[in-house]
Amino acid sequence: MAQQTNIGELLSMLDSSKLGVRDDITTVFKENLNSDRGPMLVNTLVDYYLETNSQPVLHILTTLQEPHDKHLLDKINEHVGKATTRLSILSLLGHVIRLQPSWKHKLSQAPLLPSLLKCLKTDTDVVVLTTGVLVLITMLPMIPQSGKQHLHDFFDIFGRLSSWCLKKPGHVTEIYLVHLHASVYALFHRLYGMYPCNFVSFLRSHYSMKENLETFEEVVRPMMEHVRIHPELVTGSKDHELDPRRWKRLETHDVVIECAKISLDPTEASYEDGYSVSHQISAHFPHRSADVTASPYVDTQNSYGSTTSTPYSTSRLTFNTPGQLPQNLSSPSTRLLTEPPQATLWSPSMVCGMTTPPTSPGNVPPDLSHSYSKVFGTTGRKGTPLGTPATSPPPAPLCHSDDYVHISAPQASTTPHKREERTDSTRPCPHRQQHRPNDRGLEESHSSKGSVTLSDLPGFLGDLASEEDSVEKDKEEAAISKELSEITTTEAEPPVVPRGGFDSPFYRDSLPGSQRKTHSAASGAQSATVNPETLNSSLDKLGPDTPKQAFTPIDLPCGGVDESPVGTRECQTSLEMNILTPSPYKIPPQRGVRFGSGQPPPYDHLFEVALPKTAYQFVSKKTEELFKKAKGNTEEDYVPSTSPMEVLDRLIQQGADAHTKELNKLSLPSKSVDWTHFGGSPPSDEIHTLRNQLLLLHNQLLYERFKRQQHALRNRRLLRKVICAAALEEHNAAMKDQLKLQEKDIQIWKVSLQKEQARYNQLQEQHDTVVTQLHSQIRQLQHDREEFYNQSQELQTKLEDCRNMIAELRIELKKANNKVCHTELLLSQVSQKLSNSESVQQQMEFLNRQLLVLGEVNELYLEQLQNKHADTTKEVEMMKAAYRKELEKNRNHVLQQNQRLDTSQKRILELESHLAKKDHLFLEQKKYLEDVKLQAREQLKAAESRYEAQKRITQMFELEILDLYGRLEKDGFLKKLEEEKTEAAEAAEERLDCCNDGCSDSILGHNEEIYGHNGETKIPRPGSTRGSSGSRGGGGSSSSSEISTPEKPPNPRAGPFSLRWETTMGEPSTSIPMTVGSLPSSKSFLGMKARELFRNKSESQCDEDGMTISSLSETLKTELGKDSCVEAKTPLNLDGPHPSPPNPDSVGQLHIMDYNETHHEHS
């Protein structure tokens, strides 16, 4: 709560008169808003604004940032629903939207939009409707793509309101309708500009109905005359124009300009290059030639704006000569036939302008007045009470004249006359009155210009800047006006002025003729908002102006005005001068008044409502002249302060407030008198009406300003483009310069190239001469060389000849040498032969001598021999012979010995080899043996395994058998026992016949004993049962090898038993008992012994050869003597059979006889 009260205080402080406090509070609020995200503060502010219309609050609300937009919109939405606050909230919304907040795109999603549309569809208050429509129009370009779902709502609204314009439901004042009409017109433009296809189809469907036909004829059709065919109608489609892509690349101002482009209405229209270039070229020249006079404004523009257009202007000057008159006259007449009423309206004045000699300004006024009268006539005719907007602008003449005055005033002395005359003709207005406003207007125009520029330069705030600007403006204006004056003096310029028609046609036409002036004032206010912008634009685009002008012929009267600075300025001044309406130019002084007088701010809102009304009334009725004068004085008293644009509208309201005050002071009757003029409505109503009207005007103004801002935005962009273009042009120029420089360079290079070529040619020639010289030298030298070559050839042939000669000579030399050698050889041979023959001769001599000596010696020896005899020769011969013989003998002996040695050695060798062979054989044998052994072992192993298997099998069989026995025994052991006993008794009886009973008894006991021992060796019962004495045999068989057991059935055994008995009876030491003993089980003591003995022989043999048992026993018997144990056995064996048959009592001996028993004992 504390906070709320705090806010309340703050809010009240917000409206304090101290600037500092206000700023502080504003910053406090803004900080609060930045920190707080809740809706509370915004709601409070909105409420407070609705209560007080406080400007600072409005400022805060319009600059709300992102998070609060929702609250604001919600709040606005809430208030839109309420009828009481609807109007003010709509104006607030208008304020907010016009500033184009950053969150404008959210508008389409906000619930506000549908409720606004609903309100527009249902509300019946014209003021609300107009305000709402203006808000909607402002909003549309911001939300082009998202607004499409409401498209039909827009269209419906348009349909409803347009019908309103005609039908005037209920008690609606006509003045309101004018406003409404204007806003509907704007809506028409917007809708047609943005959604042409959809809109046209809507129009088609909506106005095809009969009940709407009248509305169409009266309202919509005139509107349609102000638009050109939208290109989208040709190229686009319903869907395409709703396509978001189309809108994406367009900003808000783009959309606005797009809409303006299709308009033919001067207030709305906008022409830009690219849009109508094709028209320019086609339209420019024909018109120029055909009706130069019809577009005099163009000429002025041309001469004023650009140098390029001067030829035309000059030509036009020439055209303006009387000689050209018929032609000029004829062209308007043709135009009269073809063109809309507007054109016809203006044609007279043009004609007038043409008819008047251009050089004489004195003639102008009458012409102008004439034209004006004509205009009035036409407007009077045209201006139907219904007020179609298509009609020509009546107030134009007024502005016209004033403009003219204004322009010419500084220089031409004739202008005042003109103006006066005109004003006289048009209005019965006192001279002085007119003068004063004029003067004032002049002054104010300067200041206003300053303010205008300021408004466009947001960075500037202070007065200083504005002053500077104003100075500059003055200068500019001076230059402009100078030119203008030149034109006006030289040329009959009146047609320039004509288009005071920049005013929107609605105002003029809707009002009765008497009120027209007031309307013009209103429209002037409206246009004033446009003016600064247009002025700027025109200043910015001096170049492009001409093409635009070329386009004007169609809507000549109006088109040029908005765009030409001259026109606008004229308008402004005219407005100010003629009507003391709250035009923006007047406001600065007024504000000064207000501030100076220190009027309390709380009145502001009252003023705002009241003020326009009075101004309006004053202008229309001209009853408040005195007051106005006073005001004018006050205005003059104060130096016009340069104020920002945003203050302007506030000033309208506040300045007008003074009027209200004054009005209130006036006596009621006088007021009533005046007001009854409107149709007798009561004064209070009238005040209300006027207030609303003011409000409407304000709204309209704001809307127009919004448009202006959009234009400004666009202009800035275009300016940038121009600058860019200029830069590019400069760049181009620079490039061209460079190009030129380079060309120069190239030429220089070319010259130098030629020089070089010349030098090169020279050098080439020199070179050629040198070459030819050298060639001749070469030739000479070659010639020389050839000569030398020939000489050398000759010499060589000579040399060859010489060589040949030498060779021949050498051969001859060789031959000679050979001959010499040969002869030498022969010589030496001959000499040798000679020496040989000499030596042979000497030898011959020597030999002869020797022969002689020997002969003598021989003779001597013969003598000696004869002297001695041969006595010893016999002995020697004998000895020699003996020796020889002996030698022979020995030699033979040695030979013999040698031979023997040889043979023996051979023998030894032989034997040794033999030995080696034997050894090898041995080894092989051994190996073989080993092999065989291995083989045998393997076989043996197999056999052994087989044996093992057999053993296992036997064991199994035994087991099986024993098992079977066991079973049998179990069945009838006792019975058998008894049977046995009886049998035994019988047997005993039988046996007693042949032997004693003890035997059987012993056998029996033996049986029993064996049975008791029965572990491995079970005595086969059948044996024991059958033969009482067969027990021994049975026991033997049981202990014998496995093979023997199955092979000895009881039957054969019976035989042996009987045999045994016989043998025991007959021969005590037979082999049969021995066989029994000789086949013991391997485990028995005897068996082991026997195995030791029989190791040499294979066991298998032992096992298998059951038949050879006897023979084995024989061999055993032979060897018994060696072994002591066998010795001990043999007596047993011998004893066994012996005592048993004869001594039946010797059971103990029998006992001993059992090998198994002994074995058991041993083990």
């Binding site: 092999d931 291995l934 083989q935 393997e938 076989q939 192993k941 197999a942 056999a943 395994s945 087989r946 093992e948 298997a949 057999q950 296992r952 099998i953 064991q955 199994m956 069989f957 099986e960």
Partner: protein, 293 residues
Amino acid sequence: MTEDSQRNFRSVYYEKVGFRGVEEKKSLEILLKDDRLDTEKLCTFSQRFPLPSMYRTLVWKVLLGILPPHHESHIQVMTYRREQYSDLLHALQVVRFVSDARPQVEVYLRMYQLESGKLPRSPSFPLEPEDRVFLAIAKAMEEMVEDSADCYWMIRSFVNQLKKKYRDSLPQLPKAFEQYLNLEDSRLLSHLKTCSALPLLPYDLWFRRCFAGCLPESSLQRVWDKVVSGSCKILVFVAVEILLTFKIKVMALNSAEKITEFLENIPQDSSDAIVSKAIDLWHKHCGTPVHSA
């Protein structure tokens, strides 16, 4: 030298290029031509190369000691063996321990039990675990060998070899398995450890039954070649290779029981590849056996 002259001089080259077994049959024939067969050489051969199927039975018989190394005594020894077989069979039939209706495998088992003296008193006595091992091996062997006497003898010798020769090394195999698996794929081993499936692996199937019933006979033969020729380590590598081959599936399984169940019933289609890889692995880790061994 005589052997080498008979062999193709390209044989070394064949092996280098990767054609195995081109010359193996021939070299085996040369080996088998010797009178007094060299069992060591046969062992080495069968460890290095797969045996040609036509000689497999002969080589196995020789290696298992069913036939002596001398060709001369082959016939005689074989008659002994056959007689022994028929005797055993006869004995069992006599005591009505077996009948024609019983499967041949069981007959072999009874015969073996009879021979080793472990024949139970009644055929209905429950089977010992080692009897089950015998049955598995016998079943596999029955597929490989046609003649029943041969079959019996080979089963008997094979089982005896397992019992005697490998008595000490068989219990070591699980450890070796773990070691080699760690070398080949430690991640798999750790997975098995985390699942605690390691002690539950079918070691009995793998090492005691020598994969009988786990691998199809055609593949099993090649494994048993190595086992018969004296290396039981091959079993470890076959086991490792099985795990490596089915690694993805084993990794996907998380419980020890499932892993064991899966390993006990591995798909048979890839067994040939498994065995080939296992032999390669074995050669890689244990080296190719050389003649000197």
